[in-house]
């Protein structure tokens, strides 16, 4: 949260600086709509940020200012001198509070009510002094992206110089000491490059991590229930773009929850689950990053948008109705639009969407809307890949090398391998990869270059494009590399098969292929219908994947499974570290004893895997030979007998036993185990009422486990018997004889049976000597 707060402070400061000119200009011309919009957006953004940073004072101020400015925007109020002053007072106060937050100093509330009251129509004018700016030294520096670009450029030059040096040294026999020095330099250069790269690149995680909180808070404040799923947080994007996307994304999400997702009761009526679903996903697609925000709410009510806009008076209803469907949808990006009749704390008046589009346009992105009235809205944001680092597969055709985004590659198979066949179907080539038929595209044909090898000697790269997949035949596949992709010149991009160009460490520039462009060039097209049915199928599969289960090879050689939800983690362990103690197999891990459950026999030594199972209030480990897969179990389980195996089910045609975690916890769970760990006192002579009614409770209250009969596998820690008896079950366990007489017994070792202290003392003493 500190990071976010710092970002908020830095950003607000920057906006304030640029805004100061606008404010003065607005003061001079209060009727200027553009200036009014700029100030309005500022207070709206502050309000939004404060919402999830939990800054109620700022929120209150900005909300008040926003209200008044909205009235001005709607034409309900005219911006007179008094109103302008009052708004400026609020803006100045926001600046003061932001500085105070940064400095960590307190700022009294005095005057804030006055400032807000001054916004009211006809209230007295307040005079305010410009705030005195006292800025403490900051822990972070904001750098211009130009400087970062220069650093990056310099870094690449350094890498190339290093490469050239290495090449020249290789050609001339040189001193090993020089080579060692070069090695050291190479390592440093590589580290440096990583660091410099990091200054520009950021995982989308940085953008996505605050979202769960935003969703939670927004949903809670509206009385809605929303579950958020995030996908693709490890896709990397230029830092600048992440910064630029931060606010728009939050705006979109707040809008989705506020305007899109219905109240639980309405959702029930519409036959939807009470919990609204919101998905934020990002992926790299060719030379773009695609970000999707999908909700299953009510979608956009186009009619209502048109009515609202017509009411605003900017355009006539007839004119709006004439627009094509997509353009009608795009009306939600009009400034000052709200389909809600009342303003809310959350997303205000739909103002977010015009800000969103402005921000996305600014970084060369594009927004698409896919509206299903009553069912939901999908907002797709395409962002350019410029300067993105991507992981790419490098491949060779003829004497040339190309890169292909790793993300587009499903798998790579050798064309000559078993299970692979290539057939000619009319004029088209079809590759059959393990029974899956794919259109085959020969890269050499598409690029009109000569292939160097025989067809069966080549490789097939299976390229997935979302709507379908095809097999791309190439001569060789070299490696996977991290590449900085830059756009190529228009003359080159015009061919449609390239996504950009890159300069790998070899110093020989390389072109990045665009999988979709190559398919289009080769006339491989995947119908839109096919795409739809496919995605629906996939969606259904996602709905009902079944219960995830971990498959493992048990100690007795059987393949079994266990519900994945109880498996905390899987650890490697040495079999010899597991020891039988106090009746249980146990292993010491990180200073604590964990009960080990097994089916079959532990090998005397060697490596085993421990499935650490968690039952909430403790854990046990289940020892297996190895864990090998996670499967989704959809079929009904055929129950088995009471025991460690809950039942049998079919997994890919094989009968697999499913371990019953409940049984394991019941048998080996921590409560039982704690009880277990206490030493067992075997009381010989069960028929003796005194033993049962007196000695047993006494021992149990002292923390021992008193039994009259041993269960299988149990060994007594100590045996209590009447004087003169030597019970068979005692084995090697020490014996405590209870005597009827004080200080008595033939061996004089007997304990007077009514002497509690002596009896407990004797038991403790015998246990100590073990």
């Amino acid at each position: 949260m500190d990071d976010l707060l710092q970002d908020f402070i830095a950003e607000t400061r920057e906006t304030l600086e640029t805004l100061s000119g606008e404010i003065v200009a607005w003061e001079a011309a209060p009727g200027d709509r553009a200036r009014l919009d700029a100030i309005f957006r500022f207070v709206h953004t502050v309000k939004g940020s404060c919402g999830f940073l939990d800054l109620p004072r700022l929120q209150r101020l900005s909300h008040a200012a926003e209200d008044v400015l909205a009235q001005v925007r709607d034409g309900h109020r005219t911006p007179d001198q008094q109103l302008v002053n009052a708004v400026l007072g609020i803006v100045d106060r926001i600046a003061e509070i932001v500085e105070a937050i940064d400095a960590g100093t307190a700022l009294d509330h005095s005057g804030e009510d006055l400032l807000i009251a001054a916004l009211e129509d006809g209230s007295a004018e307040v005079h305010h002094a410009a705030p005195v700016q006292v800025r403490p030294a900051s822990r972070s520096v904001r750098l211009s992206v130009d400087l970062l670009d220069r650093m990056m450029g310099g870094m690449s030059d350094m890498v190339l110089a290093r490469n050239e040096l290495a090449r020249r040294l290789r050609d001339s026999d040189c001193d090993p000491a020089i080579e060692a020095a070069l090695e050291r330099m190479s390592a440093t250069v590589a580290d440096m490059r990583d660091a410099v790269t990091l200054t520009r690149m950021q995982k989308l995680d940085a953008l996505f991590s605050p979202l769960p909180r935003v969703v939670r808070d927004t949903a809670a404040s509206l009385g809605k229930a929303v579950s958020l799923s995030i996908d693709g947080a490890d896709v990397e994007l230029d830092r600048e773009m992440i910064e630029a996307m931060r606010d728009p994304l939050v705006h979109i999400i707040r809008n989705s929850i506020d305007h899109g997702i219905e109240f639980p009761a309405d959702r029930r009526k519409a036959g939807k689950p009470e919990n609204g679903r919101l998905t934020v996903a990002a992926r790299q697609s060719g030379n773009q990053i695609v970000m999707e925000i999908i909700d299953d709410g009510r979608g956009i009510d186009v009619e209502r948008v048109i009515r609202k806009l017509a009411e605003n008076g900017s355009r006539s209803e007839a004119e709006l109705r004439k627009l094509p469907d997509q353009a009608k949808l795009a009306l939600i990006f009009e400034p000052g639009l709200s389909t809600k009749d009342a303003a809310t704390e959350v997303s205000g008046r739909g103002v977010g969407m015009d800000v969103v589009r402005a921000s996305v346009d600014q970084i060369g992105g594009r927004i698409e809307l896919d509206n299903s009235p009553g069912k939901g809205l999908r907002i797709t944001i395409h962002l350019p890949l410029t300067l993105s680092i991507i992981s790419a597969v490098t491949l060779g055709v003829g004497n040339q090398s190309f890169a292909l985004p790793r993300q587009a590659v499903e798998e790579i198979v050798s064309a000559g391998a078993q299970n692979i066949r290539v057939d000619q179907l009319g004029s088209a080539s079809i590759a059959t990869v393990r029974g899956r038929k794919l259109p085959l595209v020969r890269l050499c044909d598409v690029l009109r270059i000569e292939s160097s090898g025989h067809e069966t000697a080549g490789m097939l790269v299976i390229v997935g494009m979302g709507t379908g997949s095809y097999a791309l035949a190439v001569d060789t596949v070299f490696d996977t590399e991290e590449l900085v992709i830059k756009p190529a010149v228009p003359q080159i991009m015009a061919s449609g098969v390239y996504g950009g160009q890159t300069l790998p460490d070899s110093g020989q520039p390389m072109l990045l292929l665009d999988g979709a462009g190559i398919a289009a060039r080769a006339n491989v097209r995947f119908g839109i219908n096919g795409a739809f049915t496919r995605s629906e199928e996939e969606a259904e599969v996602e709905e009902d994947l079944g219960m995830p289960a971990l498959m493992f090879l048990d100690l007795d050689g059987s393949r079994r499974s266990i519900p994945l939800s109880v498996v905390d983690r899987i650890e490697k362990a040495r079999a010899e570290a597991v020891a039988m103690s106090a009746g249980r197999l146990r292993i010491a891990i990180d200073g604590s004893m964990i009960t080990v459950a097994v089916t079959g026999d532990l090998p005397p030594r060697g490596s085993i895997a421990l499935l650490r199972l968690n039952c909430g209030d403790g854990e046990i480990a289940y020892a297996v030979r190895e864990a090998f897969d996670i499967v989704h179990v959809r079929d009904e389980m055929t129950p088995g007998e009471q025991g460690p195996v809950a039942g049998v089910m079919l997994v890919e045609g094989e009968q697999i036993e499913m371990i019953d975690p409940n049984w394991l916890f019941e048998q080996f769970g921590p409560n039982e185990a704690a009880h277990d760990a206490s030493p067992i006192c075997l009381l010989a002579g069960a028929d003796d009422g005194w033993m049962r009614n007196f000695v047993k409770p006494l021992l149990e209250s002292a923390g021992y486990r008193a039994v009259f009969k041993l269960e299988a596998g149990q060994a007594p820690a100590v045996v209590l018997a009447r004087e003169g008896e030597t019970p068979d079950a005692a084995g090697t366990a020490p014996l405590v004889h209870l005597s009827d007489r004080r200080g008595g017994g033939a061996d004089r070792a007997g304990i007077f049976r009514y002497d509690r202290a002596a009896l407990l003392g004797a038991v403790a003493e015998r246990l100590r000597t073990i």
């Binding site: 160009q501 110093g507 520039p509």
Partner: protein, 141 residues
């Protein structure tokens, strides 16, 4: 008014290039082919950490492609860097530019790229706009 021109040779003919258009002069090496690119795009090459697009001036003028890759002038067009191949580079000399008069009959592409002429010891030399070469023949029809 005189300004600086780079005296070079393209397609066997002497030309001058406005030095304002030239960032630097390099010896080309290691040009990567770009399949499916227009004919005058010879390929891409590394210039330090930058990738430049190599323009074959002969092909851009509608002649047969240059037989060999040698020197090139680096120019920037619309934010992209290009290496425009030249056959020979002589000198940087200040000249006064003269407009092309109607009487000078150049064929289509030469006329498009021609920006006037300068006189060196009485010999007229065509001023060539390298930006025009970068765009090639594509915009002429």
């Amino acid at each position: 008014m005189e300004s600086l021109y780079l005296v070079a040779r393209i397609a066997g003919r002497p030309v001058v290039i406005d030095s304002e258009q030239v960032e630097s002069v390099i010896d080309l090496a290691g040009v990567t082919d770009v399949p499916l690119a227009p004919g005058h795009v010879r390929g891409i090459s590394a210039l330090r950490s930058r990738v430049v697009t190599v323009i074959d001036s002969r092909a851009a003028l509608g002649l047969s492609p240059s037989p060999e890759i040698g020197r090139a002038v680096i120019t920037q067009v619309d934010g992209h860097h290009y290496a425009v191949m030249v056959e020979e580079l002589e000198d940087v000399v200040p000249f006064a530019a003269n407009p092309l008069t109607d009487g000078i009959a150049l064929d289509r592409v030469w006329r498009k790229a021609g920006r006037g002429y300068v006189e060196r010891d009485g010999e007229p030399i065509l001023i060539v706009d390298v930006e025009c070469l970068v765009h090639g023949d594509e915009k002429s029809d």
